[in-house]
């Protein structure tokens, strides 16, 4: 038990902090932070699988997150029949051309010997395919985007349950990872980082600018939810009764009935938002726990030992007959799939898909900071990192504001420096996180909860 003491203590501190937010700010706020912490934890589990287990740098987390979000739109939104009628055939035709292109390129590269002729054939296939797609898709896209552009202007999704999209999101991200892995995994560590960063940027720019797919920067709002809506809760009698019973002490004190009704109404509104977030938190927590159990089992299985061997000494592992390339590709796909799942969860939580908000700062570098701070190679550490860093990311501005006010208390309200500092309080989050990373990298490079290797 003693060896788990630091893990337990670290998590206790973290939950105390979140509860403190609940007491001092609001429970709704605390639960939003908790939900985002859980989503970040899923992302860090994914990044940790790649970096902690196998030593692969993946700076493309943003791309997988966005793809997971796209999956939610494509699966759960109701289809737009007018758009399908207008340009559906063209888009399906273009998809057919893409498949034909891939098949024929595979055929050429399998059956013709490596030569100039082969290169020209492949290049020719790509050029012809692109031209065909251009001819087919061009008018299709135009007519799809013309269908009620203020509301739809895209093909819509399949109208399936939103929870299903989480799995699809994972598959999308895994598929992308397969392609990227095939291209980039042979590269040296820092090349791989740059390549994945830039490829993720390409993926996001496609999602942003292909309006027929998911409305691009026009955003998709009002996505389905796996949990009840606040409005429905506020009118359902069982929920009002629940709130009444829960707050009976508080309500008794109030004298008149009309006043009591007003207070109750306000309480129900607050409680409905808390209830919805609690449901979400329950769902997310289930995902995190399942992932934690699976990854923990994997880490201490023969497969996990093999991965560590590959990470620590690639040559030796390969001399022992382990297929390094294959294992790297596999772990790259697995980790990315987990990140894709997190992306889908995040869009579900927000209820909207905003491709414009996917930026490398927030979705790649912050996630990496979480992994480094938490502890590479330790799943509990990675999750904790997700919690700590997200908490800091959100609460940095209030903390900074408090500190600024504290240290400049002797200055008058109109002092230029004070005003300037208060205005720039939101940017102290970058400072705190940056300094945190630098300190951790220097004095505790293994992270808050270091990797634990159990000798069997």
């Amino acid at each position: 038990m003693k060896q788990y003491l630091n893990v337990v203590t670290a998590y206790m501190i973290m939950f105390t902090l979140i509860i403190l937010v609940g007491i001092f700010q609001s429970w709704s706020q605390a639960l939003s932070i908790l939900n985002y912490c859980l989503i970040s934890a899923v992302m860090t589990i994914g990044a940790n699988i790649q970096w902690g287990y196998a030593g692969l740098i993946n700076f493309g987390i943003m791309g997988y997150t966005a793809l997971g979000g796209l999956a939610v739109v494509l699966v759960s939104v109701a289809p737009v029949p007018e758009a399908w009628k207008a340009g559906g055939i063209n888009m399906i035709g273009s998809l057919g051309v893409v498949v034909a292109m891939i098949v024929s390129i595979r055929y050429i590269s399998k059956n013709i010997q490596k030569s100039k002729k082969r290169n020209y054939l492949i290049a020719g296939t790509i050029v012809i395919g692109l031209l065909l797609i251009r001819l087919l898709a061009g008018p299709g896209i135009e007519s799809i985007e013309a269908v009620d552009p203020a509301k739809t202007g895209f093909l819509g999704g399949l109208g399936m349950p939103i929870l299903f999209s989480w799995i699809v999101g994972a598959f999308f991200a895994g598929g992308l990872a397969y392609v990227i892995g095939k291209i980039a995994l042979g590269l040296r560590a820092d090349y791989l980082a740059i390549a994945t960063l830039l490829i993720a940027e390409i993926v996001v720019s496609i999602i942003k600018h292909e309006d027929w797919l998911a409305r691009g920067v026009k955003n998709v709002i009002g996505l389905k939810r796996p949990v009840p809506y606040e409005i429905d809760l506020q009118t359902s009698p069982w929920f009002i009764n629940l709130v009444e019973n829960f707050n009976s002490g508080k309500l008794k004190v109030i004298g008149t009935i009309s006043e009591r009704q007003d207070v109750l109404k306000q309480l129900v509104i607050d409680a409905s938002s808390v209830y919805v977030k609690l449901c979400m938190a329950g769902l997310f927590l289930t995902v995190v726990i399942i992932l934690l159990i699976v990854t923990q089992k994997a880490l201490y299985s023969p497969w996990g030992r093999k991965m560590r061997a590959i990470r620590d000494n690639e040559e030796a592992a390969s001399a022992m007959g382990k297929n390094v390339v294959k294992e790297h590709l596999l772990i790259f796909i697995l980790g990315s799939a987990v990140v894709g799942l997190a992306g889908a969860m995040m869009v579900t939580n927000d209820g909207l898909f905003t491709p414009g908000s996917y930026r490398p700062m927030r979705y790649t570098f912050v996630i990496w900071v979480m992994v480094i701070v938490g502890g590479t190679g330790n799943n509990f550490g990675a999750i904790l990192g997700g919690f700590v860093v997200w908490f800091l990311w959100v609460e940095a501005a209030p903390i900074a504001l408090f500190l600024i006010n504290f240290f400049t208390a002797h200055l008058p309200e109109t002092n230029a420096l004070k005003v300037h500092l208060i205005e720039s309080a939101p940017y102290f989050r970058f400072l705190m996180i940056g300094i945190g990373v630098l300190l951790i990298m220097r004095y505790r490079p293994q992270g808050i909860l270091p990797e634990k290797i159990i000798k069997q």
Binding site: H209, V437, M441
Partner: protein, 336 residues
């Protein structure tokens, strides 16, 4: 006559903008490549370091303007570059002393240094935003145009006008000066040679008595000059916004890798390859073809390979292609 119009059109909308944008990228790419070659890590704080240097130039420009100092028809910012460079070098050296040198002495793997540079990126971004804020700032003054479209039309009697913005000319001229001094230094002086020796083979360089501290110091000094000049030129041409500088890191990385990372000349050319690639592939050639083709063949569509939304994506795809077929860059082994 139509043929001339077509050439002027291309010159105006593709070649001149690509040359100036390419110069800005090239300066950044040489910065990346130098850090990579000598200090051996991919510096993810590149964009923000350029932004940091530019911030001082912007602030000093505003200060100079308030004092009434100007540089005639040239932008005041050019006057402030030396001061901004000094601040920048001081900042870089202190970061090196407090952050990077520890890992260099410990001989940490490059990946660790790259991660550390992510930390530096966060801190630099915070400092910039706290000092100057995240807003868009224009600090260009002086003459805006060297050649205006209407003047050009009057001069030549052509249909197409040629505009040369003063920032474009300044960018190209300053880049040529800075880069040629740098290459002269690297190739012809003894200190420059020792730097290259250190970058090629650290152990042999140390064995022959090259002082590593001096090499590292020089690298940061040159990097500081390149980063500030590149940043200021970009800011003059477009505008100064911290977030945009962070994003510019990506095409700069693409340029450095396309040119073969670790090779300054490759990075210089890589900047232009990326810039020309971006602009040529996203330019709509409709007008160009209406000039050179007979009327019956005039195109109906825009004749655009990719929409301008994908400008950045083009340079990244270029990088992916290069990584696939020539991971060591398209200018492998090219030296002055």
């Amino acid at each position: 006559m139509d043929f001339l119009n077509a050439i002027i059109l291309l010159l105006n909308y593709t070649i001149i903008p690509a040359l100036s944008y390419g110069s800005q990228l090239a300066l950044g790419a040489i910065f990346v490549t130098l850090i990579y070659g000598v200090l051996r890590f991919a510096n993810f704080a590149t964009g923000d370091m350029m932004s940091f240097g530019t911030m001082f130039a912007v602030l000093l420009t505003f200060y100079f303007q308030s004092l009434g100092i100007n540089f005639g028809f040239l932008p005041t910012a050019l006057l402030t570059i030396p001061f901004a460079v000094i601040m920048m070098i001081l900042y870089m050296l202190s970061i090196d002393k407090f952050v990077f040198s520890y890992y260099r002495i410990k001989k940490s793997p490059p990946v660790v240094l790259a991660m550390v540079s992510v930390g530096v990126m966060f801190v630099t971004q915070a400092i910039i935003r706290i000092i100057i804020g995240p807003f868009d700032r224009r600090f260009l003054d002086g003459e805006k145009f060297i050649l205006k479209a209407t003047e050009f039309k009057e001069m030549t009697g052509l249909n197409e006008g040629l505009t040369i913005k003063s920032t474009q000319a300044i960018t190209i001229v300053v880049t040529v000066i800075v880069v040629s001094i740098m290459f002269w230094f690297l190739n012809k002086t003894k200190t420059g040679t020792s730097m290259r020796a250190y970058s090629d083979n650290e152990d042999l360089a140390l064995l022959s008595g090259i002082d590593p501290k001096k090499v590292v110091l020089l690298t940061w000094v040159i990097a500081g000059i390149l980063a500030t000049v590149g940043g200021v030129l970009y800011g003059l041409d477009k505008s100064y916004k911290p977030f945009v500088y962070f994003n510019n890191m990506l095409p700069i990385f693409a340029a450095a890798i396309v040119g073969g990372i670790g090779n300054p000349l490759g990075a210089f050319l890589g900047g232009y390859v990326v810039a020309f690639g971006e602009i040529f592939i996203t330019y709509a050639y409709k007008k160009f073809f209406t000039y050179i083709l007979p009327e019956s063949l005039e195109p109906n569509s825009l004749m655009q390979l990719l929409s301008t939304d994908y400008k950045f994506a083009v340079s990244f795809s270029l990088l992916v292609i290069v990584l696939l077929f020539r991971p060591s860059g398209i200018f492998k082994g090219l030296r002055l």
